[in-house]
């Protein structure tokens, strides 16, 4: 399932010979790449600009408020065009994504000199290197630091006697989180509002479903996909392939329906990242009934994360959020969206807080340490897909130092953060080598 599928015949090929002859080699290449990426705006790299043509240009110029111009003719008509400078393209991408568009970024794959060397009429080789969609972002500039950015795959299993089941898998590739669960159709609304995805993928059939379709179309961005993404027969194999394991049994116990949704999600990610596979945690399964069910109307009404007017300010989350790191803020939002129903788990959390209520010195010291810790999981995700910079490495370095300093205090917080103590000890060994680099 690569990006360059078998390419549909470009529209020109069906034209009479003289009309087809007027298509420039560059435009021929453009149309070919465009046809391979239906439903996406194509950012076509030309020197220092990404150019958009035809309908894409009209959509983008309107959405971004940039000038629509023209370049050459196609079948006797002017070709509408607009462009954004490469070095400021993140900003434009951000605005398009926020409006729910999806973008295919097409780069020049060779030096223009190499193309000239092949002959006069040669066009620079170009390829799509990435699809930018609302649910598959890693860039700091495109992400809200204090919110998770989830891609959600929704699969349905039809039952003859009614009572269809829904499998859900959601992934934040910027933090590697990967969760699956199952629910009934009646619980779908509450589950969707709890997950609050930035992009959802569903089958065409589900998208057009008279009962569930309207619910899905209320989500910020929904992408209907062909059935092969949601093929349950190949789901296990696609998951194994992504995680490079022989069987998923060792990684995670999932129902068949959950696996189907999970496979759809990783296939979509694989496709949007064009071969670069961001590392994901093995799917964590959320058992039914482990969280308090809160439907969308109740969430809105109690102003949990947004006021009725839509502001964060004035919401419960805003009132209780005293965290000092973006990752902490994201975790608090997650917890607020999904209160627990297991009193033992609640008691563990309360114990942790009680410890820090009682010991203000340790609390303040830890908060100072944490304040210096950068957003490690997102830096790591960027480095993994080759989009990281020295700043991300420096972030990891500061994070390791912070972990080191927190581990120094671990006798104070034993039982509260065993993962920190464990991983801290392990990374401490590496710290000496890695941190001296920058």
């Amino acid at each position: 399932m690569t990006i360059q599928q078998s390419i549909p015949v470009p529209p020109d090929a069906t034209q009479p010979a003289e009309a087809a002859a007027r298509v420039t080699p560059m435009m021929e290449q453009y149309l070919e790449i465009k046809a391979a990426n239906p439903g996406l705006l194509l950012f076509y790299r030309m020197g220092d600009f990404y150019e958009l043509f035809f309908e894409d240009a009209e959509i983008a110029s309107k959405a971004l408020g940039i000038i629509l111009t023209k370049r050459g003719k196609h079948q006797g008509m002017d070709i509408p065009m607009c462009g954004v400078p490469v070095e400021r393209s993140d900003d434009y991408l951000h605005r398009l994504i926020a409006l729910g568009h999806r973008v295919a970024v097409c780069e020049q794959m060779e030096d223009p000199a190499a193309a000239r060397a092949r002959g006069n009429k040669s066009v620079v080789r170009r390829d799509v290197v990435r699809l930018v969609t609302p649910g598959t972002l890693t860039e700091d500039t495109l992400l809200d630091a204090r919110a998770n950015n989830y891609l959600l795959a929704i699969a349905r299993a039809r039952a003859s006697a009614g009572g269809d089941r829904i499998g859900l898998a959601w992934i934040d590739i910027s933090t590697s989180e990967f969760i699956v669960t199952e629910c009934s159709t009646g619980e779908l609304a509450a589950t969707l509002s709890r997950i609050n995805p930035n992009e959802a993928i569903v089958t065409d059939a589900l998208y057009g479903d008279p009962e569930l379709g309207p619910l899905l179309r209320e989500l910020p961005a929904v992408t209907p996909l062909t059935r092969d993404f949601f093929d349950s027969a190949t789901a296990e194999r696609r998951l194994c392939d992504y995680f490079a394991v022989a069987t998923m049994d060792g990684l995670s116990a999932m129902s068949r329906l959950e696996a189907t949704a999970a496979a759809a999600a990783v296939t979509y990610i694989d496709r949007t990242q064009v071969g670069k596979r961001p590392p994901l945690s093995p799917p964590a399964r959320e058992a039914a009934g482990t969280t308090m069910a809160i439907d969308p109307a109740t969430r809105a009404n109690l102003e949990l994360t947004r006021t009725l007017a839509g502001d964060r300010r004035g919401s419960l989350l805003d009132a209780i959020d005293c965290t000092v790191t973006p990752a902490g803020s994201r975790l608090l939002a997650q917890r607020l969206a999904a209160p627990l129903t297991d009193s033992a788990a609640i008691t563990r959390r309360l114990d942790a807080i009680a410890t820090f209520v009682a010991d203000s010195a340790v609390r303040d010291e830890l908060r100072t340490t944490l304040r210096a810790a950068p957003d490690m999981s997102r830096a790591l995700a960027r480095l993994s897909v080759g989009r990281g910079g020295p700043r991300d490495l420096a972030g990891l370095r500061d994070g390791i130092f912070a972990a080191d300093s927190a581990v120094g205090n671990r006798y104070h917080c034993r039982g509260i953060a065993p993962p920190l103590a464990r991983s801290g000890a392990r990374i401490r060994a590496r710290a000496g080598r890695t941190t001296s680099a920058d």
């Binding site: 944490l370 927190a406 991983s423």
Partner: protein, 454 residues
């Protein structure tokens, strides 16, 4: 990259930087050899490194013996530019060293990235641990700063809050230097009862009913995310589902009327709420004609009490509903305390057992700034209506539903009543659930036009 990390990189960098020194030394030497003090060695992207002198010295360098060393490249208006074989060599070295340094830096960067990715599992675990610690310390700070207590969370059906506060409203009031009036709420099953209680809260608008309702939902929610809660004491039996509804605003975007939205949402609750659920209903039924609304609220309460058996807070302005406490053993009447003072109403924001005797709607309208003549007129209309109501003692009967009953002997009354009656007739003729928002708005204007002019 810091110096001292990678010897190969340091060496290349030294070469690059040393070459620059060589260029500077060369410039000094050339200046001496040629006797041209203003001689400079410069760099641009077209020529690379070159020797530049002012035009007046140009001829000197182009004449023997200096022209053996200096090769003329370019003549500009004020300057003449030359290169030398020596300069060409240095240039190549510098470029190479620069390229090599950059290459090495990239190589090291890639190596470090690979190391980071190898360690990613540990790093991610550390990042997650940080987030957990951050949340725990942040909630602890909140608990200390805003005086929260540790809730007792268990698997009972209990729900007992003492000194409960609304976390958001409290903070807002604090900023204005005002105290928040804390209130208790106990929905735990009473002695000998198996299910939780249903509190029916009456009282005027603006007195804090909605705040009270929401604060209890939020305290339960905070307790179950494992946070301390804004109360002096709280015991919460795990809530499996939380429902909160308010007589809704018009949902114009989806073309549903207020009342339709309300009923759809109420239906969800009546169908789904279990004994473990917590249900908050605020002014349900106000979106339709008075009798319809009252009947629906009445039936909904009975259903919640008998079938769902969930812990419920139900705020209403239908005082008639308080009569249900005679019939439903787990229904408890509570009211928000107000004081009347010189004809105005003072809100005390205290929730107490009992029921409000009246809604103080006119006093609230006065606070809202309705014109004095309208207030006066409304008072006289109300007085008439209440005078007729007094004769009926039906309120005591749980299965009777007296409400602003329209008297049958209306004809005998003077003009004011007949105007009121016309209005009532007009209102009764409306069917909000069959109206589009636009029709509803037009009907509202028509009603206003019928108001007596003063």
């Amino acid at each position: 990259m810091r110096e001292g990390y990678e010897p190969a990189l340091d060496e290349t960098r030294n070469l690059r930087d040393a070459s620059r020194l060589v260029v500077a030394a060369m410039q000094a030497r050339y200046a001496e050899e040629t006797g041209v003090k203003g001689l400079k060695i410069r760099h641009n992207n077209v020529l690379g490194y070159f020797v530049e002198v002012t035009a007046q010295h140009g001829d000197k360098l182009m004449a023997p013996p200096l022209n053996a060393t200096f090769i003329h490249r370019q003549t500009l208006a004020g300057q003449v530019r030359f290169t030398t074989a020596e300069l060409g060599e240095i240039e190549a070295k510098i470029a190479n060293a620069g390229d090599r340094a950059l290459g090495l830096e990239l190589e090291i960067f890639d190596r470090l990235c690979a190391m980071a990715i190898t360690a990613s599992e540990n790093l991610r675990a550390a990042a997650h641990a940080f987030a957990i610690l951050d949340v725990a310390t942040a909630l602890a700070k909140l608990a200390v700063d805003d005086n929260y207590v540790r809730p007792e969370v268990d698997s009972s059906l209990g729900f007992a809050i003492e000194g409960g506060r609304h976390p958001v409203v409290e903070q807002a009031l604090k900023r204005d230097g005002q105290p928040f009036i804390a209130n208790a709420c106990d929905l735990s099953p009473g002695p000998g009862q198996k299910s939780g209680q249903l509190w029916l809260i009456t009282g005027p608008n603006m007195a804090g009913k909605s705040t009270f309702l929401r604060q209890n939902a939020l305290i339960a929610l905070l307790a179950q995310i494992g946070s301390f809660v804004p109360a002096s004491r709280a015991r919460i039996g795990i809530v499996d589902r939380l429902f909160s509804r308010v007589g809704a605003a018009d949902d114009l975007a989806r073309g549903r009327s207020t009342f339709m939205v309300e009923m759809v949402e109420t239906a969800v609750i009546l169908n789904q709420a279990s004994e473990r659920s917590l249900v908050i209903l605020d002014e349900i039924g106000r979106g339709t004609a008075t009798f319809d609304g009252l009947s629906i609220a009445w039936a909904a309460i009975e259903h919640l009490h008998e079938n769902n058996r969930c812990r419920t807070l139900f705020a209403t302005h239908y005082h008639e509903l308080t009569a249900l406490s005679a019939k439903l053993p787990r229904l408890f009447n509570a009211t928000v305390r107000v004081k009347e003072w010189q004809g105005d109403v003072v809100f005390l924001h205290e929730v107490l057992p009992g029921s409000a005797d009246r809604s103080y709607g006119i006093q609230v309208a006065k606070l809202a700034g309705l014109p004095q003549p309208v207030i006066a007129r409304a008072k006289s209309v109300l007085a008439k209506l209440e005078a007729q109501d007094r004769g009926q003692t039906a309120r005591a009967l749980a299965d009777d539903l007296p409400l602003f009953a329209v008297p049958s002997r209306a004809a005998a009354e003077p003009a004011p009543r007949s105007e009121a009656e016309q209005l009532i007739e007009a209102v009764k003729a409306l069917h909000p659930d069959e109206m589009s928002p636009r029709e509803a708005l037009e009907a509202l204007y028509a009603l206003r036009a019928k108001l007596p002019k003063q």
